[in-house]
Symmetry: C2
């Protein structure tokens, strides 16, 4: 019975995700669904990307939070379309779903965008279960979280096309074994692409910008 | 309709939580439900506590993970009762609920325990919604997650009696404003107790051990 409810929820979500996907495809917009633990650095990665691509790639952002508009406010200065979703109006949901995205994109002129970031609620678990019509999910893993997280929270790494290892500026102070983290990511998804960056210092960021440009549709 | 389902789930959970609470009370066991983002340091705090209290306070641990027994294995050497719950057998649940705890404690001799740690699934959102019969929830916030998390994920801080700020050894390297984090925690819950520690270096750990001893029931 309970499983049936969950299946219905996921099936209904998938139908709306498919409609979103067609809308994004029609407008040739690359849609990236960013998923991580709270504080792994999704917002800073988006900030630095908007900064780097200003006047070059036309970007938009959908910000997902349970409450507050703190992240959206951080992005305001970049003069790109930003839509804030607060899931507290949906019962405090711990993830974004396709219907929330369908409503949010009504406020965005997709014909004028090359790429759209969706910053999901900070949570390694549930956001990975819901497709929202994105081209791909991107898992952000940050060094202070430790090497074992891909093994303990495998789904987001299984569902993602790219894993970004962020905060590599803390590698030496934490004596962190980044190779071990990479191996653990590859254990749960041997096909995933992996890159190491520091959104703070800019290390490795060129590789990320190159990846993003390569995947643009127009 | 959907809200009704959720309400039923929470009401059913509360009934079982109440039975757990009575069982723990009868045995005079202090039960602490530890909640945080993935990688905030719950397991290390528990490890160091078991180490400090060996032969003094009789502790037990229930480990909650979606999959793997990695955390339980880290604790094996301390020769205390450990029960691992893998929520993948419950559909990959992102939190522990009262029924999981009711089943897990069947394998623990509560008459021989002074305190029981419940290490919840690493997730700042959903675990805060489910009482499991604990005496109190403890929110662990780690410095690398940033100062804004209590504002963005308020429920766990509202529901907790104590907030532990962990990884203060990274305060200077991250030029972190710990006072601002404290203020943000107090904004969402003015009654919460707060302590700053580093489970890694041991800084502030005495205060935590003292707090725990003070709350023991026998």
């Amino acid at each position: 019975m309970e499983i049936k409810v969950v299946k219905n929820v996921l099936a209904a979500n998938e139908n709306i995700a498919q409609a979103n996907r067609e809308l994004f495809e029609k407008n040739r917009v690359l849609v990236l669904n960013m998923i991580s633990s709270p504080g792994a650095g999704k917002t800073l990665i988006i900030e630095k990307t908007l900064e780097a691509f200003a006047g070059d790639v036309r970007m938009g952002v959908i910000e997902g939070d349970i409450t507050t508009t703190l992240d959206a406010e951080r992005l305001k200065k970049y003069d790109v379309p930003i839509v804030q979703i607060n899931t507290e109006t949906f019962g405090g949901d711990c993830h974004l779903d396709a219907n929330m995205i369908a409503n949010a994109v009504k406020d965005v002129d997709l014909t004028r965008l090359d790429a759209l970031f969706i910053e999901n609620v900070g949570n390694l678990v549930c956001p990975a279960e819901f497709n929202v019509g994105e081209d791909c999910k991107i898992a952000v893993a940050s060094i202070p979280e430790g090497v074992d997280k891909p093994l303990k929270y495998p789904l987001v790494f299984i569902e993602s096309k790219l894993a970004i290892i962020n905060k590599i500026d803390l590698e030496s102070v934490l004596e962190f074994d980044t190779e071990k983290l990479k191996n653990n990511i590859l254990k749960v998804n041997p096909k995933i692409e992996i890159m190491s960056i520091s959104a703070k210092t800019g290390a490795g960021f060129d590789g990320w910008l190159k990846w993003l440009k390569l995947h643009l549709k127009k």
